[in-house]
Structure formats: structure tokens, C-alpha cells
């Protein structure tokens, strides 16, 4: 595990060249991690497809009892959860984006290669954890949206929902870290000349997607934590007792859930924006408009979550507001669709399979988008929601949109990833079968919705007028299954074929095609300097007006590229810690469902791997000083990562704090905020403020090279943190023992303990961090050049401090304000 940087010079072996199980288990190369993602998501694609076929088979005829109600409910729940969290997101983000981001922006790897590997291992363990339900016939069974209070222990006593809740929490960690990682990579690691407005549109899409991930997942995490507490501790966050309401879950879930739709949609938009120009031999139309449309969609997506809840009775004002914001999203989406058509218009279309899928995407996605406009109107939504019309709508978006884009991306980038082409003839078969199967399966669902067939029913009686279309859809679904089998055959055949493909088989426009197929481990021999949009096209042809088909120009460009001589490239060494970290998280999840002591074992693994990775990373940071010189955009990636994380934490705490305020007002009995001890917490506040002062003094000391005082101030900060924690322990014990306020007792108790306890946990993590740092300083390992480590820890510490400023004011000082 010692970090020995590898030196690569001279030849350019492909990133796949070095094999070995250990190599794959410890890899931190973004391309290999991407391949791991790709393989696992393909596996889950077929699992999810199998579940879908079971669902369709059950519905083929009325009064079918092939599957029991229970099994059917598990199948549709897992179909949705699998396709969203284990297929579409990991294929788009984990596979394609992971592989392509560094190649498209001219970087050697992502900003945090270890965290990238870690994301994958956490993802695969989380996915397997949730799918463990297969073994006990106890898969999650409350729908992918898991509406409370059906998910409460009383109504779902089995382990089904536990697997779902904990599995999603684990998957959330993976996604959040990927988001953070790719965000920093795109902002910070672009090669010289690659300004934002010169990035490939896929990079824009991923940039916006990662922001969405960072700011949407915290809401889901909060919702899942509440559910966890309800199921394991016996609190009542979503039980309609004690004044709580299950509607809270719906709000938290959809604050996450609607941006989630765009987390899946925007990468697909990006993929299409890459494929269309290449096969039209024209630049993307309306680049600036396309980029701004992405940003606008992302921004609007946070203000529309209520359109999933029109039928819950939010009141006319909220209904109207959410309706208008939802409809507004149609405007930027329209801009995108028309710009794609304009991209194709006047081009010279090469009708490859990738192009077929991309063109079909435009039409299918438009249908999905337009039916979306329909239920953005609440009156219509009241007829359509929870009927098959909605099923038709989101399959047109998710399958007709996202899956078509993903399939197109496979045909387009597969040669780059594997060095082999996919067979066009099989591809054409697959395309037509997919189009027919897809439209045949999902278009009639519009009719079924209009005819009033509700979603998520495991059986239906005859005589409702639903029989014909259901049988028809099932037949088409099998056609779709055949299409995917052809796809599988195509993938396997291509991997077994000997015929290698050139670096640039499509005469493409973006940087990833300027390197080998498959690319070398270090991506680029020399760091490229970019002069405009469509960087590789410019390299080949010198201008945007391509001078006819001059293939030698391309050859010349890459030859010049190769001759420029190779700098010695240091690549970070492989590491076991990512795998260890993920294992720790998995053990914690298992422990939550079995024995508490196992949780501590998992937490121990987690701690060891984090600290281990931290020290590995420090070495890495020094080794790549040289590459940082090229990539540096004025700020350090780690610092930017910390700030992005803190932004994400803002949303996390906003959800916790608003829950506290809402539930405090609904508290029905027992102790309330009046029992809070102001003198004690005032003292704690001063303690935490002082610790922040010590923290900046430590930073100032290390920055001027004063190691002794830096160590002293660090110990001081951590010590004051301990005093704060002591105060909190005293406060909680007093509330519990003197006021007899347990977490389960009333709404005030559960939200207060959760909010302040979560903050306390943050403080505790900070204290551990600071002590590690202080000991490092004491041992002389924290030199002036590493002051950044102190600065980052400081950012975290001050953030914890400002959260406390907010909590102190809203929770303590406003304790008597009922509607605060």
C-alpha cells in the first residue's frame, strides 16, 4: 500500500494492458474504474430487465396469478430502483462520464482518483446489499419512491424496507462522492485553453449534473435517516401520530427526486449533443443556448418537486406555483430539441447505429416531454397521476430518452473504450427491434392511462377494456428483451473479435479521439493546449470549415502529437483503501440489521481506510507538483472539493433545520423547546467560537512556518471541541434524565435530538480529524508546504461553527417562538 509512483515513458500501452485480479481490485485509473462500473451496470441492466419482463408477464392477461401480490410488488419496486440507481445513473455517470471526462478535458485522471475507485466499490456493495433480498424473498416492496407511512415498521415489518433504506444510503454516499469528484475535475482540471465555453457539451451536461447531485442527494439522505430512525429506534417522523405527517417524506423525497430526473436526463442530453454533430459533420447548433438551457433546467428543477404531489392537497397557491415552474422547464427543453434538429439540418448524415439511436432519442424524448407538460397542469394531473399514463410518460423519458442515449453512446464510444467496433448490422437489428418493442410496449400505456388503469396493481379484472393493450404491451416487451439479447451478443462478439479500430474511426471532433483506442493509462503524452471548441477537429483541420475529406490531415495531427516527446508522467499508485472503505460501509449496513457491535467493526474499517487514504493522498499531492503546474487553475482541487462538499452540507442542514421548525410547531404534548438550557448553550457557543479562533491561529502559524504554535493551536481547537461535546453530552443527559424526554416521546424530542445530534456528530468527526492533524504536527510531519491540509480541516471546522450559529439562534434563542 506504500505509494510508489509508477513511471511511464516511451511506449503507450493501453490502460487494459496490465491485468491481474489485484490490479483491478486496487485500480484507481478512471478508465478501469469506468469499466468496472460498466460491467456491473450491464449486469444490473439485465436483472432490471428480467424484473420488468416478470411484471409485464403478470399483466399480460386479467386476473393473472402467476406472481403473488407480494412478489409482484417486489418486482416493480426493484425494477424501478435498479434501473434508476444501478443502471441509468452508473452507466451515464460511472461509466461514460467517468471514462470520458478526463479524456474530453485533456486531463490525466479525475481530481481524486482514490475517491473515484471508492465510489465504485461503495456502489457495487450498496447494490448487492439491496439485492440480497433475493435470497430471502425479501426484496424492497414499497415502490422506488417508498412512500411513508407504508414503509414504517408497523406496515412493513420485514427486512425488505431495511434493505432499501440502508442500500440507498450506501448508494447515496457513492453518488455524492462521484458528483463531488467530477465537479472538481471539470472545473479544475481542464487543460490549457479549455475554457468553459469551449468544453464539449457533454462536459457541460456533466458539470450541471454534478451540481445537481451535490445539492439533491442530501435531501434524500435526510429522508432516509428519518426513515431509519423510525424503523430502528421507534421515532415518529412519518407516522401520523404525535402530530407528524407522512407528507414530510414526500417533500424530502421529491426535493431529491425531481433533480434526480435531471441527474439522469442531462448526461443523456450531453451524449446526444456529442453524437449528432459528429455524424452530421457539423458543429453543435446554438452551443451557448444549449449550455444556458442546461443551467436553467437544473436551476428550475429545484422549484418543481411539488408537481409530484398535486394530489396530496397542497392547496391551490402551491399547486399553481409548482405548475408554472414545471411548465417553464419546457422552454429550455424545447431549445435543446430544436437545436438538435438544427444541428442535423444541412449536415451530411452518416446513418450509423449511434446516429439512429440519437435521432430516435429526439422523437421519443419529445413525446415524453410533451406528456410531461400535460401533468404539469394540476387538473390534468389529478386524472393522470398514478395511472398508466404516468408510466408511459416516464418510460418515454427514461427509456426513450436516457436509454436510447446510452445505447447510442455504446455504439459511439465503444471503439474508444475497447478498441473494437460494434457490429453495425446487429446494431441495426437491435435498433429497429428496440424502437418497435419500446413504442409497442409504452405507447399503449397512454391509452391505458386514459382508460383509467392505475399503476402498481398486480392484477386487474376482465371487462375494464384494458386486456387488449396489456397483452399487446407484453408481447412488445419480449421483443424489447430480444433486442437487448442482440445487444449482448454484439458486445461479446466485438470483444472477441481481433479487428482493431483506429484512434479516430468516426472523424470526430473532441479530444478523446486524439488518443489511442483504447487510450494509454496516462491518457495524454503531453498536455494538450486547446484553441477553440471542437478541439480535435481544429487540430485536424485547422478551422471549423473542414477542408473536405483529408484523412491525412488527421494522421498528421496525431503524428505531430506523438512526436512532441513524452514528459515523464507520474501516475498515482493503486490502493486497497477504497475497497476497504466500501467494505467498512457494507459491514456497517449489515451490522445495522444484525448486531450493533458489527456496526462498530465497520466504523473501525471506515476510519482506518480514511486515515490511510489521507496519508497516501498527501504523498500523491507532492509527487504531482509538476502536473499540477499544468492543470492548476489557481485553486487547489482539494480545497475546491471541500467547498463543494460544504455547499452540499448546506442543503443537508437546511432539510434538518426546516424539519425541526415544522415539527416543533406541530408538537402535541410533552416537553417542548422551553426546556432548553440557554446559559449552558451560551457557554457552548463561546467555546465553539473560541475554537474557531484557535483554528485560524493554527493556520496562520503553519503558514508562517511556526510548527510548534501550530501544533499548540490545533490541540487547543480539538480540546475546545471536546469541551463543546462534553456540554452537549451533559445537555442531552439532563434532558433525558431530568426532563424525561426520550427521542421517541414527541416531535420536539425526535427532531431536536436528530438535528443537534447530527451537528454534534459533525463536531466529533472534526475533533478526530484535528487530533490526527495535531499529532502529525507534533511529529513534524506538517510542514509549511502542507498548510493546505490545515486550511481544509479549518474550512470544515468553521462550517460546523456557522451551522451552530444558525442552530443556536433558531433552536435555542427562538425557543419560545411557536412558528419559528
Amino acid at each position: 500500500m506504500a505509494a510508489q509512483p509508477k513511471e511511464i515513458a516511451g511506449q503507450r500501452p493501453s490502460y487494459l494492458a496490465e491485468g491481474g485480479l489485484v490490479g483491478w481490485l486496487t485500480t484507481i485509473d478512471h478508465k478501469r474504474v469506468a469499466v468496472l462500473y460498466g460491467l456491473s451496470s450491464l449486469f444490473f441492466l439485465f436483472v432490471g430487465g428480467f424484473e420488468a419482463l416478470l411484471v409485464r408477464t403478470q399483466l399480460a392477461v386479467p386476473n393473472n396469478h402467476l406472481l403473488s401480490a407480494d412478489t409482484y410488488n417486489q418486482m416493480f419496486t426493484m425494477h424501478g430502483t435498479t434501473m434508476i440507481f444501478m443502471v441509468i445513473m452508473p452507466l451515464e455517470i460511472g461509466f461514460f462520464a467517468n471514462f470520458l471526462i478526463p479524456l474530453m478535458i485533456g486531463a490525466r485522471d479525475v481530481a481524486f482518483p482514490r475517491i473515484n475507485a471508492l465510489s465504485f466499490w461503495v456502489f457495487i456493495f450498496g447494490a448487492l446489499f439491496m439485492n440480497a433480498g433475493w435470497l430471502w424473498h425479501a426484496l424492497p416492496d414499497a415502490g422506488w419512491f417508498g412512500y411513508a407511512n407504508l414503509t414504517e415498521r408497523y406496515y412493513s415489518p420485514g427486512m425488505n424496507i431495511d434493505l432499501w433504506d440502508i442500500g440507498l444510503l450506501i448508494l447515496g454516499v457513492s453518488t455524492l462522492l462521484s458528483g463531488l469528484n467530477f465537479f472538481v475535475t471539470i472545473v479544475n482540471m481542464r487543460c490549457p485553453g479549455m475554457t468553459f465555453m469551449r468544453m464539449p457539451m457533454f462536459m457541460w451536461a456533466m458539470l450541471v449534473t454534478t451540481v445537481l447531485i451535490l445539492l439533491a442527494f442530501p435531501a434524500l439522505t435526510v429522508g432516509l435517516i428519518f426513515l431509519f430512525l423510525d424503523r430502528f429506534i421507534g421515532t415518529h417522523f412519518y407516522v401520523a401520530a404525535l402530530g407528524a405527517t407522512p407528507i414530510l417524506w414526500q417533500h424530502l423525497f421529491w426535493i431529491f427526486g425531481h433533480p434526480e430526473v435531471y441527474i439522469m436526463a442531462l448526461p443523456a442530453f450531453g451524449i446526444i449533443s456529442e453524437i449528432l454533430p459528429v455524424f452530421s459533420r457539423k458543429p453543435l447548433f446554438g452551443y451557448a443556448g444549449m449550455a444556458y438551457a442546461l443551467v436553467l433546467i437544473a436551476f428550475l428543477s429545484y422549484g418543481v418537486w411539488g408537481h409530484h404531489m398535486f394530489s396530496t392537497g397542497m392547496g391551490p397557491v402551491a399547486d399553481a406555483t409548482f405548475s408554472i415552474t414545471s411548465m417553464l422547464i419546457a422552454v429550455p427543453t424545447g431549445i435543446k430539441i430544436f437545436s438538435w434538429i438544427a444541428t442535423v439540418w444541412g449536415g451530411k448524415l452518416r446513418m450509423t447505429t449511434a446516429m439512429y439511436f440519437a435521432l430516435a432519442f429526439i422523437l421519443e424524448f419529445t413525446i415524453g416531454g410533451l406528456s410531461g407538460v400535460m401533468h404539469a397542469s394540476p387538473p390534468i394531473d389529478l386524472q393522470q397521476t398514478d395511472s398508466y399514463f404516468i408510466v408511459a410518460h416516464f418510460h418515454y423519458v427514461l427509456f426513450g430518452g436516457m436509454m436510447f442515449a446510452i445505447l447510442g453512446a455504446f455504439f459511439y464510444w465503444w471503439p474508444k473504450i475497447t478498441g473494437r467496433l460494434l457490429d453495425e448490422k446487429l446494431g441495426r437489428w437491435q435498433f429497429w427491434l428496440t424502437v418497435i418493442g419500446f413504442n409497442g410496449t409504452f405507447f399503449p400505456m397512454h391509452f391505458l392511462g386514459v382508460l383509467g388503469m392505475p399503476r402498481r396493481i398486480y392484477t386487474y379484472p376482465a371487462g375494464m377494456g384494458w386486456t387488449f393493450w396489456n397483452s399487446f404491451e407484453t408481447a412488445c416487451a419480449y421483443l424489447l428483451g430480444v433486442a437487448f439479447l442482440i445487444f449482448l451478443v454484439n458486445l461479446v462478439r466485438s470483444l472477441r473479435s481481433e479487428q482493431a479500430v483506429g484512434d479516430d474511426p468516426w472523424d470526430a471532433r473532441t479530444l478523446e479521439w486524439s488518443v489511442g483506442s483504447p487510450p494509454p493509462a496516462h491518457n495524454f503524452d503531453d498536455i494538450v493546449t486547446v484553441r477553440g471548441r471542437d478541439a480535435f477537429w481544429l487540430m485536424k483541420y485547422g478551422s471549423h470549415d473542414a477542408p473536405g475529406h483529408d484523412s491525412s490531415a488527421g494522421a498528421r495531427a496525431s503524428a505531430a502529437h506523438a512526436e512532441a516527446g513524452h514528459a515523464h508522467v507520474h501516475l498515482p499508485a493503486p490502493s486497497w483503501y477504497p475497497l476497504l472503505f466500501a467494505a467498512g460501509l457494507l459491514v456497517m449496513g449489515v451490522g445495522a440489521m444484525t448486531w450493533l457491535r458489527v456496526v462498530f467493526l465497520g466504523a473501525g474499517l471506515l476510519l482506518v481506510s480514511i486515515v490511510g487514504m489521507g496519508f497516501e493522498y498527501a504523498t500523491y499531492g507532492q509527487e504531482t507538483e509538476e502536473s499540477r503546474a499544468t492543470f492548476f487553475r489557481g485553486v487547489d482541487s482539494r480545497k475546491m472539493g471541500m467547498w463543494a462538499f460544504l455547499g452540499s452540507e448546506c442543503v443537508f442542514f437546511a432539510c434538518l433545520i426546516s424539519t425541526y421548525m415544522v415539527y416543533k410547531a406541530r408538537n402535541l404534548g410533552g416537553p417542548d423547546a422551553a426546556v432548553l438550557d440557554i446559559p449552558l448553550t451560551s457557554f457552548s457557543t463561546f467555546v465553539l467560537l473560541t475554537s474557531s479562533l484557535l483554528m485560524v491561529l493554527a493556520l496562520a502559524a503553519i503558514q508562517r512556518g511556526d510548527r510548534k504554535w501550530s501544533a499548540i493551536w490545533l490541540f487547543g481547537t480539538a480540546g475546545f471541541g471536546l469541551v463543546f461535546l462534553g456540554g452537549q453530552v451533559y445537555e442531552f443527559s439532563k434532558l433525558y434524565l431530568v426532563e424525561h424526554l426520550a427521542m421517541q416521546d414527541n416531535l420536539f424530542g425526535q427532531t431536536f435530538y436528530t438535528l443537534v445530534g447530527t451537528h454534534g456528530t459533525h463536531v466529533a468527526i472534526g475533533v478526530v480529524w484535528l487530533f490526527v492533524m495535531a499529532f502529525a504536527a507534533l511529529k513534524g510531519k506538517l510542514q509549511q508546504s502542507r498548510s493546505l491540509a490545515v486550511e481544509i480541516a479549518g474550512l470544515y471546522w468553521h462550517f460546523v461553527d456557522i451551522v451552530w450559529i444558525v442552530i443556536f439562534t433558531l433552536v435555542y434563542l427562538m425557543r419560545s417562538i411557536k412558528e419559528a
Binding site: 403473488s68 401480490a69 407511512n149 399553481a320 434538429i341 439540418w345 444541412g346 448524415l349
Partner: protein, 346 residues
């Protein structure tokens, strides 16, 4: 070759459409959302149609543009020719396809917002009839607080009178949906949601729970009977009558079995069994006082016939997986007698 394949495909499609059309002609669509029978459903439909038409217009524009682009510009492939002009933006076009959708959205938003405020009134006239809907896993309880009547799984309402549904849940979230009479509303524990409507055409309408609510979500159906004013009066009067205690025969034997078996723990037959003081919020199982007057049993899952009733009592879990009603182990004569009694409760 290609053309023959296309022709066969067309023929196949035509056949399918034909059989679909036959089905449409031969059958009724009891859950059709496009056959409004109330003021609420009509209002919804008017917005529905407007938006659909705008959608279709946009769809046609996209389809035409896309297919023109594909057919005009892909044929050039293979021909030696000049590179396409590398144009990448056009201000006029971009402004047009931003402004166009905005205009359409404004046209959609106005009727939408109007309908939103019209369908969710804060106040309703005093003469409105209040019906309390209490959703249970997996059946519906209906109460008429002003009339003192109550029933289950089949609700009767008078036509041409404002009805105010108050929706409550006894357990998890359900959704109350009568497609012909209006949109759905979720039934959320801990809050009371409302639907206000005037049914216009007397008749029998189907309804179903629309929010996933557990194992037997699919088996949570109900019927709405829109009666004429007189018909409704008659029905209410019938409902308020105590049931006739069968004097002799199989049915009276059945009544004894009913009282001694666990049935009465959850089900009430007014004046004969059940709790003297009714629960504040409803019963665990449907009220059976006028059970024989209903056309379906087990929340719209089976037709109300003696055979079906026997099946249901013998094995509720097969008919409705997860149902709270246990298997009672009644057999042979006992079962027949119980069925006879229940079917006598007109």
C-alpha cells in the same frame, strides 16, 4: 424485399388496430377518464383537451422538422460532395423557438390556474351533502354524518347536488379516484383532504385506490352509484332501517354462527352485533348491516353472489392477499348457513 416487408407490417398493424377497435366497440370502459359525468370531471377534461391539442401541434412540428432533416440530408451520404456549411447559431431561430413555447405555455397556464382555484374551493354551500370517506387497507368506508347512514365499498350520492367528500385514512396513504366523476385525491393519514363536485348523470361508476398502499393495493376498488334525488332518499331510508332478524331456517342458524364466530369483532350488523358504541373512526372491517344490498364484495373484487361469498369467507388470503380477515375454518353446513344469513341482510 423491403417493400414487401413494409406491406406485411402495415397489414399487421391494420389487423391489430381493427381488433383494438372491435374491443373498443364491444366493451365499455368503466374507468375511462375522458367520459366526464360531473362538473369537476368536465372542467378537468376541458383543460385536458386544450393541453393535448397544443402538445400535438408541437409534436407535429418536431416530427416534420426531424424527418425532413433526416430524409433530406442523409441521402447525400456517399455522394462525393462539399462539406456541409459549418453554421452553428442563428439568433432569429433561437429567439423564435424560445418565444414560441413561452407563448403556448401562457395559453396553457391561464386555464390551468383558473381550474386549480375553481376545483379547490375553501368554502362550499351549506346544502352540500358531506360524505366521509375513510380508507382502510384495503377497503373503503363511507359515512354520511348528516344522515346517520354508513356503508362500505359502494357509495351512493344524489345527482345534481353538491357533494363534499372528506377523505381520511385509517392507516397508510391511499388515493380516492372515480375517473368519471373527477380527478383523484390522496387520502393521507393525519389530514383531511376534500373533493367537491356535482354529479350530473345517474348511473353506476367505478373507482379504485390509486396510491400504492401495500400488498393488495390492486384489490381496493369501489363503486359509486349516482342516484336520482328520489332514488337516493329511498336508499338512505333503507340504510337507516335495522336489519330484519331472520326468524327461522338456514339464515337464522347463520345469524347465530355470525354472532359466535369472530366475525362480530370486526364487522357490525346494526342492532345485532358489534360494539354498542361505535369507534370514533371506523371499524376494522366493513359494516355488514345491509350487506346483501351491495353488488360486490371484498372491495369490488368479487360479484356479490353466495358462491363468491363462500369462497371469500373460506379463504380471504387467496382473494385478497394480505387482507386482515383471517381464515375462520368454517366448512360445509356452517358456511352455507352463514352465507345464507349474510345474503339475507338486504
Amino acid at each position: 424485399m423491403n417493400r414487401r416487408f413494409g406491406a406485411r407490417w402495415l397489414l399487421w398493424c391494420a389487423l391489430l388496430l381493427f381488433s383494438g377497435a372491435t374491443e373498443a366497440a364491444a366493451r365499455s370502459y368503466p374507468m375511462d377518464t375522458m367520459a366526464p359525468r360531473s362538473d369537476l370531471a368536465e372542467l378537468i377534461q376541458s383543460v385536458y383537451v386544450q393541453v393535448t391539442l397544443w402538445d400535438l401541434l408541437v409534436l407535429v412540428v418536431v416530427i416534420v422538422a426531424l424527418f425532413l432533416a433526416i430524409f433530406w440530408f442523409s441521402t447525400r451520404f456517399g455522394e462525393p460532395g462539399e462539406e456541409p456549411v459549418q453554421f452553428h447559431s442563428h439568433m432569429g431561430l433561437e429567439v423564435a423557438w424560445t418565444a414560441g413555447p413561452i407563448l403556448i405555455l401562457v395559453l396553457i397556464t391561464v386555464p390551468t390556474v383558473r381550474a386549480v382555484f375553481n376545483t379547490q374551493p375553501y368554502h362550499w354551500p351549506k346544502e352540500a351533502l358531506t360524505v366521509r370517506v375513510i380508507a382502510h387497507q384495503w377497503w373503503w368506508e363511507f359515512r354520511y354524518p348528516s344522515l346517520g347512514a354508513q356503508t362500505a365499498n359502494e357509495v351512493h350520492i344524489p345527482a345534481d347536488r353538491m357533494i363534499h367528500f372528506e377523505l381520511e385514512s385509517a392507516d397508510v396513504i391511499h388515493s380516492f379516484w372515480m375517473p368519471a366523476l373527477g380527478g383523484k385525491r390522496d387520502v393521507v393519514p393525519g389530514q383531511i383532504n376534500q373533493i367537491t363536485l356535482v354529479a350530473k348523470v345517474p348511473g353506476e361508476y367505478y373507482g379504485q385506490c390509486a396510491e400504492f398502499c401495500g400488498a393488495s393495493h390492486a384489490n381496493m376498488r369501489f363503486r359509486v352509484f349516482v342516484d336520482t334525488a328520489e332514488g337516493f332518499q329511498r336508499w338512505v331510508a333503507d340504510q337507516l332501517k335495522p336489519p330484519v332478524m331472520p326468524a327461522s331456517g338456514l339464515a337464522s342458524e347463520g345469524a347465530r354462527i355470525y354472532q359466535n364466530a369472530p366475525c362480530a369483532i370486526c364487522h357490525r350488523v346494526k342492532g345485532i352485533s358489534g360494539f354498542s358504541k361505535q369507534y370514533e373512526g371506523g371499524f376494522r372491517g366493513p359494516d355488514l348491516t345491509h350487506f346483501a344490498g351491495r353488488s360486490t364484495l371484498a372491495a369490488g373484487v368479487l360479484d356479490n353472489t353466495p358462491d363468491n361469498l363462500a369462497t371469500w369467507i373460506q379463504d380471504p388470503q387467496t382473494v385478497k392477499p394480505g387482507a386482515l380477515m383471517p381464515r375462520l375454518g368454517l366448512k360445509g353446513h356452517e358456511l352455507t348457513a352463514l352465507v345464507a344469513y349474510l345474503e339475507s341482510l338486504k
